[in-house]
Symmetry: C2
Subunit: 308 residues, 2 copies
Amino acid sequence: MDSNSVSPMPELAPIAEFDKSPPSPPNEEVPMDDLPPPPATISGNDVKKVKVQRSRSYESDDHERGACEWCEYALIITLATILLIGVSALTIFWVFFYREGYGWADDIPEKQFNLHPTLMVAGFVTFSGFSVLLYRICRCFRRIYVKLLHAIFHALAFPCIVIGFLAVLDFHNKTGIVNFYSLHSWIGLVAMGLFGIQYAVGFFSFLLLLICNKGTAGFRASLVPVHAAFGILTFVLGVAACLTGLTEKALFTFGQDLSTTKYWQMPQEAIVINAIGMSIVAVAIVVLYTVRGTGGYRLRKVAAQHPS
Amino acid sequence: MDSNSVSPMPELAPIAEFDKSPPSPPNEEVPMDDLPPPPATISGNDVKKVKVQRSRSYESDDHERGACEWCEYALIITLATILLIGVSALTIFWVFFYREGYGWADDIPEKQFNLHPTLMVAGFVTFSGFSVLLYRICRCFRRIYVKLLHAIFHALAFPCIVIGFLAVLDFHNKTGIVNFYSLHSWIGLVAMGLFGIQYAVGFFSFLLLLICNKGTAGFRASLVPVHAAFGILTFVLGVAACLTGLTEKALFTFGQDLSTTKYWQMPQEAIVINAIGMSIVAVAIVVLYTVRGTGGYRLRKVAAQHPS
């Protein structure tokens, strides 16, 4: 993390939770402005001794670890980008190729419904996924820019989710379908509620409260782990809502009318719907793997700074 | 963590990721055997100075934080226990009250199918959930006992998942239903595969390799964050499989025959199925909240030990 960071305090947890940034060269000072400097009672000579001891013990380890982490870092960025864009692209392809495209006219309400899966996947998976990953990966930027990017990606997800919700609500009302009876709708409501609360709390706490940077540092720092936990939870619930929604859609499409092909006959469209679902599962795997706690590695870094 | 820990190295990450154990009294030494002692170059007097400075600055904070954490700790244990047992109890109630109970005879294959949701919820949610939470919460026990409890709960989940899988496979074969066509089945297969790999890798690495404790410490330490990340992922995929399965069951039950009540008419059974789904969502919320990264709080503890 750079030393110009506008608000060093609240970033404690994300850094500790995710430490896959391009690692520092072995003998360079590990940048950790969220940790206090070594005790002032150590004299200048002692500090030198500590440094020499450290570079001797950790040099080869750091070299190997560095190469490994660069590989993993590049792999995750590439894989995540392909999957996050791919899942929305696949949904749009499905709608245009099998579901007659989009619209908001009264004559074909099904075209209006098609906005629902597309926008929900874009909002809850693509934009939210990018937003979570960005916050973890972009460690070379100044922290305030990463925060703004995080907020912007969620700001892109927000209208997607709202319009996606209104599209299905209006479609139900137009076609006389009852609202909020299915497990999918209940999970979706919880996910949307959490998303709204998270966005409001995050925007207020981590951007607006920067007006009074020092006075609110403690409050913001204590909020970070909760915000991060509920962020991941919102993402997981969004994924669960998408997967139950796709299951519903597949069963409604292939199960309602006796004359149509059945789901178990695996028509092309069923395979595409399943593929969208499995892409969402793959996104969840990459995102949850990336935001894993790397506390062990982190503490080895601390141990390197305060060797025994 | 107690000082008798059999294998101190591999536990670095879980501790850093989860620090909600009953906190130590403010002036007692914070037990952190995963952190090195303060630099040996500090003299005895200097160490005393550091301790006095620390107790002066952090005493009141620690008192408040301690009370808060005891509350949160007790709340999470109670809530998790109720939800984890409740979700399985509700599934068993649903099967006996609405689905004619269990069986493995050829005359009523539906009774055999009923084993599938019950055992999958027990395996992927109740036992796995307890196993994940136990590993995070039981910090007063010796680490090796927590590991064994973690392994035992997963060992209870294992036969549930295998029998639950065989029950639905045999039911499909008996009634001529095609296997592995739905999104639910694909997600379930991935979840079961991950569960098996996780169990095998975990058992081999964290229990069998203890035979050569010192020689394998580095390897085991590096595996901990990956095992933890994929463990949470397996749990999330298990939850997703349960939710898509319940959606399928609800639509098959209320949507196939024109004479039955429809799902949107919200018959009693539909509400019970939705309630099982929402209980699983509640379990996911509690578990994911509990295993959140508390790196920020952790680093404040480090700061308390190495004050500037």
